[in-house]
């Protein structure tokens, strides 16, 4: 009995130390974002003398973080809305239609999930230029829809199988048109998987770095991560500003996490088990 208790304490200690290590960089970034450069270099671990938002104010005024926050939000919202609309239509129909064409289209969507982004990066920039979608926030969101629908189609396809067909047949007999039936009956039933996909895609688009890096050149169209990157790339790193912008980038994600933690974890296991 005593040996078990010692073991249990050991496990608790190990997990606590591990959790502290996991939290340390985030805690450090938040803590020091409230200090001035001088105060920071006297001691990183000391608590700030007073909670000062000067760094954040400067980030907003001098670096126009407001505009890059809005850009990030716009890309995420438009991208997610497009993915949800396009992929739910396609996933639903592919799941309900049997036959070779439908099976082939589904396979095409799914197999492309293996293609690394770096392998299409070069032709994609050329395509984006040819279609005049490079260099703008709206163009960027359209590209995200194109890159994101495959996984969403896959998840919708699996979910639709669990919905009984009788509903659609009844609506069909009542003379409901197909597209009307889809929006009034099917789409609301897809809500659980829609939430999961929306969250996963938000995390992806909000956190994505490489695609905006190669598509956006004009500073007024920068996303939050691009602004942070520019700041970080300067030779004389102004850590107080960098930390403030890091925290600004991280906060929405951590908020989403605290509200939807269960959905996120379920989404991960669901996506993983089916894949």
């Amino acid at each position: 009995m005593r040996r078990n208790q010692v073991l249990s304490w050991g496990v608790n200690l190990f997990l606590t130390v591990g959790a502290l290590m996991a939290m340390f960089p985030i805690y450090m970034a938040i803590l020091n974002s409230f200090k001035s450069d001088g105060e920071m270099f006297r001691s990183f671990i000391a608590l700030p003398q007073s909670i000062s938002f000067a760094n954040y104010r400067e980030a907003f005024v001098r670096l126009d973080m407001l505009s890059s926050s809005l850009n990030s939000a716009t890309v995420s919202i438009l991208g997610i809305a497009g993915i949800l609309l396009c992929a739910s239509l396609a996933g639903y129909k592919l799941s309900r239609t049997s036959g070779r064409i439908s099976a082939f289209l589904f396979l095409l969507f799914v197999s492309s999930m293996l293609v690394p982004f770096h392998s299409i990066m070069i032709p994609l920039t050329r395509m984006a230029k040819a279609l005049h979608v490079s260099g703008s926030i709206y163009g960027l969101s359209v590209i995200y829809i194109g890159l994101g629908v495959n996984m969403a189609v896959f998840l919708y396809h699996g979910f639709v199988k669990s919905i009984p067909r009788e509903l659609e047949e009844a609506a069909y007999i009542d003379g409901c048109s197909e597209i009307k039936m889809y929006f009034q009956i099917i789409f609301p039933l897809l809500l659980p998987i829609t939430v999961t996909i929306a969250i996963l895609d938000f995390l992806w688009i909000w956190n994505d770095f490489l695609l905006p890096l190669i598509m956006i050149t004009d500073a007024t169209h920068y996303t939050l991560i691009l602004s942070t990157n520019v700041l970080f790339g300067e030779y004389n790193k102004e850590w107080s500003l960098i930390l403030a912008s890091l925290v600004l980038t991280a906060v929405p994600v951590l908020l989403i996490f605290s509200f939807f933690q269960r959905y996120i974890m379920e989404g991960i296991t669901e996506g993983a088990v089916k894949g």
């Binding site: 591990g18 996991a22 239509l89 129909k93 064409i101 770096h118 392998s119 032709p123 590209i143 956190n207």
Partner: protein, 294 residues
């Protein structure tokens, strides 16, 4: 009947078209184009280019030491990630699963770093490595923290691993936790009655029951680790020199920041795709066989 079949395909087309058109434009066609560019000498600026056969592929294996170095470095990284990420994630998952009250709290804390993007993680850790650690080494007893974490090739590989693991372990942990919850309680109890100790229980009962989770996690780690970019970009930028350059970074440099040899860089992209594909197929074959056996 015929009318009906036509209608069926028309409505299939109408529903799938929006997703398919965007998918084709931004993913399918670029994939095919990439394959085509890899056998041309297109340089991105010059509008005319011609077919050069396998010339690009021959060049990158015989006349491009930086590319080969980046492959070796990436392989080293992949092997370390596959081992450490899965061992740590499984260990943490098993320990968390054994807790009763604190299970939820620990799960949240270990998972949280995964929510941040890799590039943000790398920036945050650069702050820790270059500012916080040296100060801690100077002012406290933790002198071992005072290394040139980012500037010295010996330590920068370790730094890259630390950040990748910090960000990635939580994700795998969630999958392992789901796998562990699927292990039937009565099997464990039977093993306890038969006198199995904790280690025997783990090796002979738990591990065989979660092979599916292991397959998934190995697949995800392998697939992700070959594509590593952001962590290295944020921490070392591939340096010092080219000592920490990974494949993706070599491709990016070739295409966008060096000499705009799009055709040649596309050939490198094809190689990256093939490497990922081959390793994934081998891994899935091996672990699937294990799964059936157990």
């Amino acid at each position: 009947m015929n009318q009906n079949g036509f209608r069926k395909y028309f409505s299939l087309l109408a529903f799938v078209a929006p997703a398919f058109i965007l998918y084709a434009l931004f993913l399918l066609i670029p994939t095919i184009n990439g394959l085509y560019y890899s056998v041309t000498n297109w340089n991105g600026l010059n509008p005319s280019y011609r077919f050069v056969g396998l010339e690009n592929f021959i060049e990158l294996f015989t006349d491009d030491p930086y590319f080969l170095d980046s492959i070796w470095f990436t392989l080293k990284y992949v092997i370390c990630m596959v081992i450490f990420q899965n061992v740590i994630a499984l260990l943490v998952a098993v320990l968390i699963e054994s807790r009763r009250k604190s299970k939820g709290l620990f799960r949240t804390l270990f998972f949280m770093p995964n929510m941040l993007s890799l590039i943000i993680s790398a920036f945050m850790w650069t702050f820790i490595f270059t500012q916080v650690f040296p100060q801690l080494a100077e002012k406290t007893v933790l002198t071992f923290l005072g290394q040139a974490w980012v500037g010295d090739p010996k330590y920068s590989f370790l730094a890259i691993l630390i950040v990748s693991l910090w960000n990635g372990v939580g994700y795998m942990m969630i999958i392992y936790l789901a796998g562990l919850q699927g292990v039937p309680q009565h099997l464990k109890e039977a093993a306890v009655i038969d006198g199995a100790n904790i280690y025997q229980q783990f090796w002979h009962v738990t591990l065989p029951m979660i092979t599916h989770a292991i397959t998934i996690c190995l697949f995800l780690t392998l697939n992700g680790a070959f594509k590593v970019y952001e962590v290295v970009f944020g921490l070392t930028g591939g340096g010092p020199g080219r000592s920490t350059q990974v494949i993706t970074m070599n491709i990016y440099e070739e295409a966008f920041s060096n000499n705009y040899r799009y055709g040649y860089a596309s050939a490198k992209s094809v190689i990256l795709f093939l490497i990922v594909l081959i390793f994934t197929i081998i891994q899935l074959r091996l672990t699937k066989r294990k799964e059936i056996e157990s």
